[in-house]
């Protein structure tokens, strides 16, 4: 267990280093930042001073070391456009991304678990088929297109929900569903298959023989036992929201981190792009690490290995 844990933490750190390196190489590929940072009227001398100040006259390995050091100190530099520290920009946008992610998470559980359970209990009925089609579609639907079609239907045609922007609870419904549809489809399938497995087991037959009411059998004996694989896997899927944020936030003009990254790509504000990608990747990798640790802890086969 301890060995497994140390291994996983080391691997996460390595992955983070790979992301940092990719971003480092990209920033060096994307042209000389001096020209972007300085005024058009800057003299040769100004350029030299800034080059020296930023450490760009140092050999590459030294530059890389400085770069990594600054990241671990939380210093991402300043935005080229606004001249404000990049960290401020990130902090401004992070709450919106977190809000959207949490609501999408709740929504996909509230859709996926009951539908999956219903689908398993009423196997073979029209509603079961409907739920399964909902799930299969969810794994083939381009999220950006789904978002636009939801805007078209609920925003333009029916005019019942706002088409974009951040505001009240109503503004959250469409983007949260767009971000969460894929996950709710996956959760539905998982719940359904786990429930089917549990319902076929001996202890469910025994519970029924004991004369327990169907509700108690389903909810207490059934769902409780079916939920473990669903929960661990769902958490794993939620981490993926961090990647999907770029798409959903763009479609719904949601002022989050994903949209900030894309805007900064367009304006060539690379310090923000770097920091945004690093922050999202760090969250993503940490999330995956937590899931893995949680899973190994819950699973006795792994917990007791080499104990």
């Amino acid at each position: 267990m301890a060995r497994h844990l140390v291994g996983r933490i080391l691997q996460t750190l390595l992955s983070m280093l790979v992301v940092i390196s990719i971003v480092f190489v990209l920033t060096r590929m994307s042209g000389n930042p001096i020209q972007l940072l300085l005024d058009v009227n800057a003299t040769e001398r100004d350029q030299q001073i800034l080059t020296h100040y930023l450490g760009l006259d140092q050999p590459m390995p030294v530059q890389y070391a400085i770069y990594v050091k600054n990241i671990f100190l939380g210093d991402f530099g300043k935005s080229i456009l606004t001249r404000r520290p990049v960290v401020e920009h990130i902090w401004e946008r992070l709450p919106a991304t977190a809000e959207l992610g949490l609501v999408a998470m709740a929504m996909s559980v509230l859709i996926g678990v009951p539908l999956g359970m219903y689908s398993a209990v009423h196997r073979g009925t029209a509603l079961d088929t409907g739920a399964r089609i909902f799930a299969v579609l969810g794994q083939s639907m381009p999220a950006f297109w789904l978002g636009l079609m939801l805007i078209l239907l609920f925003g333009v045609v029916l005019g019942v929900l706002p088409a974009g922007g951040r505001g009240g609870a109503l503004n959250l419904i469409l983007p949260a569903f767009t971000l969460g549809y894929f996950t709710s489809a996956a959760i539905l399938r998982l719940t359904r298959s786990a429930m089917l497995e549990v319902l076929g087991s001996d202890y469910i037959k025994f519970a029924r023989l004991k004369g327990l009411s169907e509700q108690v059998v389903l909810w207490k004996h059934g769902l409780k036992n079916a939920l473990l694989p669903v929960v661990t896997f769902a958490v794993m899927l939620f981490v993926q929201f961090l990647g999907g944020a770029v798409v959903t936030e763009t479609v719904f003009a949601w002022p989050g981190l994903g949209r900030l990254i894309l805007e900064s790509i367009t304006t060539r504000d690379y310090p923000i792009v770097q920091a945004g990608v690093l922050v999202l990747s760090a969250l993503y990798l940490t999330g995956n690490l937590c899931v893995d640790v949680l899973y190994s802890y819950l699973n006795p086969r792994i917990r007791h290995a080499r104990a």
């Binding site: 390595l14 992955s15 078209l152 794993m236 899927l237 790509i265």
Partner: protein, 312 residues
């Protein structure tokens, strides 16, 4: 009933798609890139101002939506075939070597694979393409770069199992070289699995390319990429919804067909994967895989990234 007809549905959609891609020049009624600006924003044929020359309407430059969708199938197919070809070849090679050699080689290659699998795909792809200038070639290269670990991981697992078989031991005793054994004994046995993963990745690549193109960091305009067309119609949702709707439908149908075919192939070709998810119909058997795969955490993470497709 639902399950049994699925291969036919998939087959029909995919044959139609390939025909569209190959015979685009014959099938498309208009040019995919040149439009008549005086004929812009014409609605589909069944609507009031519809024009028989443009069955699915025109976009803001007067380009024919149907023709662009037909030509767009080329982009989706080419990107996914080439990217999967490159990633599949590279990943399979590494997987075979890693699984057969074992030891330090295996440990190193698999750590590399784990790192590759743990990266947030969409995010990295967006930034990579954006900085390296959006182009057809870069989209393919970057997709392949992000995809190979999925092949390597699976092929390595298969190789480990096949390596223990008697016919491999006999070949070793007979003095055959490692390269010969891998080529003649191991690789042919990996092919069914390879076919299944490749098919399941096609849908993923089409969605990834669509997402990149939609965000403006994929295939550059005026190419008729489906993702680009959907992005084009964004500003016209209220007035000309058909610009975005139809290319999205084409993409949905294609990915759906490929995914169902992949599920079906997995159930019928690959006995090992079938054990994980063996149940009566296609839709159901796909359910069981994540549960089974989550049994081992390292593979669980891989399965998650396969299934989740980064929320795209």
């Amino acid at each position: 009933m639902l399950g049994r007809n699925l291969p036919w549905f998939s087959g029909a959609v995919l044959v139609a798609l390939v025909l569209c891609a190959v015979f685009a020049a014959v099938l498309a009624p208009q040019s995919p890139t040149e439009g008549d600006i005086t004929a812009k924003l014409i609605p589909p044929i069944w609507m009031e101002r519809g024009d028989p020359a443009h069955p699915l309407g025109t976009d803001r430059f007067g380009r024919d939506v149907l023709s662009r969708i037909i030509y767009g199938s080329r982009i989706s197919l080419l990107v996914s075939l080439i990217a999967i070809g490159v990633a599949g070849t590279f990943g399979t090679l590494l997987g075979l070597i890693s699984g057969y050699r074992g030891g330090v080689t295996d440990a190193l290659l698999m750590r590399l694979t784990d790192i590759g699998l743990s990266l947030p795909t969409i995010l990295i792809a967006v930034v990579l393409v954006a900085v390296s200038e959006p182009s057809f070639r870069n989209v393919i290269l970057i997709t392949a770069l992000l995809l190979w670990p999925r092949f390597a991981r699976q092929v390595r697992g298969e190789t480990l199992a096949i390596k223990e078989q008697d016919f491999v031991a006999l070949a070793v005793v007979a003095g055959r070289s490692s390269a010969w054994i891998i080529r003649r004994h191991i690789f042919p046995n990996v092919v069914p699995t390879l076919l299944v993963i490749s098919t399941l990745q096609v849908g993923y690549v089409i969605l990834l390319e669509g997402t990149l193109s939609f965000l403006g960091v994929g295939v550059p305009p005026p190419n008729p990429a489906w993702g680009l067309m959907i992005a084009d119609g964004r500003g016209f949702l209220a007035t000309a919804w058909w610009i975005s709707l139809f290319p999205g439908l084409a993409m949905l149908l294609t990915v759906l067909a490929v995914n169902l075919l992949g599920d079906w192939l997995r159930d019928h070709l690959d006995p090992k994967l079938r054990q994980l998810g063996g149940r009566a119909t296609t839709l159901e058997s796909a359910d069981a895989v994540p549960v089974g795969a989550a049994g081992v955490p390292a593979r669980g993470a891989a399965a998650a990234s396969n299934i989740a497709a980064d929320g795209s």
